[in-house]
């Protein structure tokens, strides 16, 4: 048909529809294909806590946003360039996020009286002029899908379920993506139902050809591959990467991996992923509750496993007593907290960073644990490995923080060669000579003597210990000594972690300081601010207890620190109390990640927008 092909550097697409419309599937297929094409990308799945909220309602809208680009991508994009809205509710919910002039592709067949009413529209937005300024493309998506699948032998309801593949095919055409990877995926996914496979493939193709043949689109777009470093890549979500990181740590340490876990959103995918890899000897124990999950993990650690437990904030609350037991018995365990909106059940499917204080202090008594935070989906792999290394080397519980945004979001990951990853050296105590259960090495670390080793029979437990012998001891001075010793042991780890780095302008007056999953949004904001001529530095914490040893010095280099967090200022509180720094808090508590533009604006408001950041 000879349509124009326009080159773009980056595009942000959002798919939105009913929670039963398959938007997550559509989004992840688009993501996988886009990754294969070689674009850099970042994704943001956003779905309601209900499995199938009533169709057509605003609270049942499920969305999947994806930014892809021919250059570096740090976030899933601030505002979509394109919205695919499967019904009026999806349009209503997402409209305010769109870029001016954005393209809105709607399923015109879903804009009937009933659906408009369900979405609380008084008049049809497609007809009342309220979408002025946007490019609205009205596609008879349901009707076209039905047409394509006429006579195939499926019920109308089943046919209707394929319309997401029609939408996907159309978007593949629009952005010049190959269609083959999804066809292959359909064939393997629906290998037990030839009819469904045929229907979905037909719907996909019909969508693709619809783009080609309809007069609705005059232009199609192309985004060239990104200039990524040489290597082999795959697309990973944070939860997938964490699972792979722990399996790697298990292989590299020679310890069996034991996971004690109780299902909880958004952490369950780690349990699912690890359960698939039993040929690595992975022991996944789906416990009866969160407490059983972590205490079984303590039992496994006592008996010589690399023991981990995965959960989210409410689960951490239940595990806190057992974490204290881990501190007292000085056993290596890793607690993974995929943070979500709180308090209580809060916003189970939405992201937040509000468990930092819980991770640092949320236990009875003086109970220091190591706290780490992953910064991106791919970084989850390395932080899982790092958490395992520190836990086993220092015989200490380690908390690894991630969040719903990193856990479900994905990005291209340059796969490391396994040989390039260092071994984790673990030495069990095997000899009787000089053995005492709470004897310590130069790092104040007690020996790991596991049951089954002759001559090393000993008892551990939650009651206060005598140093060296490990016998129960209630002596006041011993208690004070042991509290300090456990704190010192954790503090010493600062000599075994990377120094804090300053990115961007080292000589800037203002540094933007972040931790965990806000890394991408801050990086992008800093990039844009510098393009505009501002001087600005970025500091990102992945080690939160202990902090890197140069933290005070690095923070001290800047006149002002801007600290954006998805909470009420938890890192800010800690930095103020430990390093006495002047901080400007920027707190967002909406269950949503930062847009980089928000951070950009905040920075500009601090500098009076004079462009030099001074």
């Amino acid at each position: 048909m000879g349509k124009t092909i326009l080159d773009l550097t980056d595009v942000t697409v959002r798919f939105a529809g009913d929670s039963g419309d398959g938007m997550q599937l559509t989004g992840s297929q688009f993501t996988n294909t886009t990754a294969l094409v070689g674009n850099d990308l970042s994704t943001l799945p956003d779905y309601p806590a209900e499995i199938r909220a009533p169709a057509g309602t605003t609270y049942g809208v499920s969305g999947f946003q994806l930014k892809f680009s021919s250059s570096d991508v740090h976030t899933p994009g601030d505002s979509p360039d394109v919205l695919v809205a499967m019904n009026p509710a999806a349009l209503k919910i997402n409209l305010s996020d769109l870029k001016p002039n954005a393209m809105i592709i709607v399923n015109i067949n879903a804009f009937d009286t009933r659906n408009l009413k369900l979405a609380n529209y008084d008049s049809n937005p497609l007809e009342d002029g309220s979408l002025q300024g946007f490019t609205v493309v009205q596609v008879p998506l349901s009707q076209q899908t039905s047409k394509a699948l006429e006579g195939i032998g499926l019920t109308n309801k089943e046919i209707s379920r394929s319309k997401n593949f029609f939408a996907l095919g159309m978007m593949y055409w629009l952005y010049s993506r190959p269609i083959e990877p999804t066809i292959e995926w359909i064939k393997s996914k629906f290998k037990d139902s030839a009819l469904l496979a045929e229907a979905n493939e037909k719907a996909l193709m019909a969508g693709y050809y619809f783009g080609e043949n309809t007069e609705l689109f005059t232009t199609r777009y192309q985004v060239y591959p990104a200039k990524l470093p040489k290597g082999t890549y795959r697309n990973v979500s944070g939860n997938e990467a964490i699972a792979l990181g722990f399996i790697t740590a298990s292989v590299k340490s020679g310890l069996p991996l034991f996971l004690g876990s109780y299902p909880i959103t958004p952490a369950s995918d780690i349990l699912h992923e690890l359960s698939r890899h039993k040929n690595f000897g992975v022991r996944t124990f789906q416990a009866e509750d969160e407490i059983s999950a972590i205490t079984a993990c303590l039992g496994a650690a006592f008996s010589g496993a690399l023991a981990i437990t995965t959960t989210s904030g409410p689960g951490v609350a239940l595990k806190s007593e057992a974490m204290g037991l881990g501190v007292m018995t000085e056993l290596p365990i890793v607690i993974i907290d995929i943070q979500r909106g709180g308090p209580s059940t809060g916003l189970p499917t939405k992201t937040e960073q509000s468990d930092l204080l819980q991770a640092m202090y949320g236990r009875n008594g003086e109970a220091p644990v190591v706290v780490l935070a992953a910064s991106t989906p791919a970084d989850c792999f390395y932080m899982a490995y790092e958490a395992s290394r520190i836990a086993t080397k220092y015989m200490v519980p380690v908390m690894l923080l991630s969040d719903g945004y990193i856990a479900n979001g994905s990005e291209p990951w340059k796969i490391p060669e396994p040989d390039s990853i260092p071994e984790i050296e673990v030495k069990f105590q095997t000899t009787k000579e000089g053995f005492q259960p709470y004897n310590r090495n130069e790092n104040l670390v007690r020996p790991w003597a596991i049951p089954g080793t002759p001559g090393l029979e000993h008892r551990i437990g939650g009651l206060e210990k005598s140093n060296i012998t490990g016998n129960v001891n209630y002596d006041p001075l011993n208690h004070e000594f042991m509290v300090q010793l456990r704190a010192q042991k954790v503090d010493n780890i600062k000599h075994d972690i990377p120094l804090l780095e300053v990115l961007g302008d080292e000589d800037a007056d203002i540094a933007i300081v972040g931790w965990g999953g806000t890394c991408g949004a801050i990086t992008e904001a800093v990039r844009r601010l510098r393009v505009k001529g501002n001087k600005v530095a970025q500091i990102h914490f992945k080690y939160l207890n202990p902090f890197p040893s140069n933290t005070k010095e690095v923070l001290g280099r800047f006149k002002k620190i801007l600290c954006p967090e998805l909470n009420m200022g938890q890192l800010s509180k800690i930095l103020r109390s430990q390093f006495d720094v002047d901080l400007v808090e920027y707190n967002k508590i909406q269950g949503l990640p930062f847009k980089s533009s928000e951070i950009e604006l905040k920075f500009e408001s601090m500098t009076g927008g004079n462009g030099n950041g001074r």
Binding site: Y233, F302, G462
Partner: protein, 348 residues
């Protein structure tokens, strides 16, 4: 012997199982007897000393691991079965024992207890049941009789108690037994049965707390009253009791009644013959409820034993099966899997 390593070389004595720690129970506590019997039987179990692991929760009973010279883990309240599950799943070769009390196991730890039984984890749970909270100084427990007056129930408790044996049967434990602190020989026999059992072994030990609930089991333990109030369960033997074994238990439908086998034309042939290995747990359940039925003696001994695969066996077999069908995990293959693509470095 289950899967624990059998020891054929070293010969231990009870002393080898006694740790250097001072035992700090109240003088006269029934726990002393349990500790002594365990130390006495341990050398004869054919298990290497280093393969014993004692795990506990919180309470007087839970100090037990400190006094055994084996591996031990004094955990947190109620969680011993979960800690033990972690040990046993990771190391099926170890002999894993849980020392627990009625508050620890049945109140705060109720959930872990039933799930350990359900899964048939190969752990041995010794319930020190004294029907009172000892370490927190005298509140009623989940096994205290209704109406019990304690510090927290000055007007009498309004809770119905748990029947631990019924609970264990219902939850699927595969060896269920009961014994007394005051019957060392019998207790030792039960401990041996637990040691030999492959699967969840549950032993309720009636144990006297002489400080807060003294004499709770006197009726069953005193020479005078014991014969008429206790029936000893033995496999393939009729349920007889009384000073001269003159009483027997007859089962009419689901109702047990006491008969005198020397009167009214009754004979020993009318008496219920105990079968530990019965296919269903119905009769074991009836036995467990004797404590709640007027006029019936309290049974001690093995209520039921069942052969089922253990959790740790199935757990490990599944791993072995996946390894066999897919081959041992290959890290490179795992990481480089799925939709993988190459970037040659110049972005094209």
């Amino acid at each position: 012997m289950a899967d624990e390593t059998i020891n054929t070389e070293v010969k231990y004595s009870a002393k080898d199982f006694s740790s250097s720690q001072d035992v700090r129970w109240c003088p006269g506590c029934g726990d002393y007897s349990i500790l002594a019997q365990m130390q006495r039987v341990s050398p004869d179990l054919g298990i290497k000393k280093e393969n014993f692991v004692w795990i506990s929760g919180i309470g007087c009973s839970s100090r037990f691991p400190y006094y055994m010279d084996t591996y031990g883990f004094h955990g947190i309240h109620g969680r011993a079965p979960a800690i033990a599950t972690g040990v046993k799943v990771n190391r099926p070769d170890l002999s894993v024992w849980v020392a627990t009390g009625d508050g620890d196991l049945l109140s705060i730890g109720g959930n872990h207890f039933i799930h350990a039984c359900r899964r048939n984890v190969g752990i041995k749970i010794m319930l020190f049941n004294n029907r009172i909270y000892g370490l927190t100084k005298g509140q009623y427990s989940p096994t205290s009789e209704k109406g019990k007056k304690t510090k927290s129930t000055p007007f009498g408790s309004v809770d119905f108690p748990f029947n631990p044996v019924s609970l264990a049967i219902g939850a699927g434990a595969t060896l269920i037994a009961r014994t007394f602190d005051r019957d060392p020989k019998h207790m030792q026999a039960m401990m041996k049965r637990a040691a030999d059992h492959n699967g969840t072994a549950f032993i309720e030990i009636f144990q006297n707390c002489n400080i807060f609930n003294d004499g709770a089991f006197e009726l069953y333990t005193e020479k005078e009253s014991r014969p008429e109030n206790v029936v000893v369960l033995e496999h393939d033997k009729p349920l007889l009791f009384g000073k001269n074994n003159e009483f027997g238990i007859k089962l009419e439908g689901f109702t047990p009644t006491v008969i005198n086998i020397t009167e009214n034309g009754n004979s020993v042939n009318d008496v219920w013959v105990h079968n530990e290995f019965e296919k269903t747990n119905s009769r074991a359940n009836i036995l467990s409820q004797f404590t709640e039925m007027e006029g019936l003696p309290v049974p001690i001994g093995v209520f039921r034993q069942e052969t089922k695969t253990t959790y740790e066996e199935d757990f490990q077999n599944q791993i072995n099966g996946v390894k066999k069908s897919r081959g041992e995990g290959d890290l490179r293959k795992l990481l480089f899997t799925g939709n993988v693509w190459e970037v040659n470095g110049n972005g094209s």
